[in-house]
Subunit: 108 residues, 2 copies
């Protein structure tokens, strides 16, 4: 699910390689766990889905991940965009969510 | 598609009432036009969908709306959340995207 994840020399996740690929059969809670795991370690993540079922699972996972991260004091926003991919010689359009984490101010 | 839209005394859209409801049959370009229209007039919009097909159309519309708004110098980010709704006595869970517009700095 988590592709090309690499640690840099300092043991941190590589900045450029956090694409979480979601399929229509992916469990949204498992994907949410992956998103939360990335955002606990790094400020950005990317979530990619092809097709209506996969996009729906991705969105559910994003909503669940916000709940998972609440106790860590982390929230995030996301920006959807289309990405053209070449998959085995076939051109496919994926939806990719660029996710950016932030720490909301604590309420009194 | 655009519900409860109301103009205030100054002719501006009412701050609290911009829920764009998306169905699986909604045309994503039409929804994108509605999102762009709201965000040209106001800094926030809400996009709501129930079911995988509707969520997919909503996400596609959000990605298209960013393209529509590019020439206006407007971009946005969104935050997905679950909302429990009572629809004709049946409890349904919707996905609602809270959308916030901003003006990115112009590139040189």
């Amino acid at each position: 699910m988590l592709e090309n994840t690499a640690l840099d020399n300092n043991g941190h996740l590589n900045e450029t390689s956090r694409i979480i690929k979601v399929a229509s059969q992916s469990r949204s809670t498992a994907v949410a766990g992956a998103i939360a795991g990335v955002l606990r370690a790094a400020p950005k993540a990317e979530v990619q889905a092809i097709g209506a079922g996969a996009v729906n699972q991705a969105v559910k996972a994003l909503a669940i991940a916000r709940q998972y991260l609440k106790d860590d004091g982390i929230d995030f926003f996301c920006v959807p965009q289309f990405i053209d991919l070449d998959i085995n010689g076939n051109e496919r359009t994926a939806v990719r969510f660029c996710v950016e984490a932030y720490r909301p101010p604590k309420s009194m």
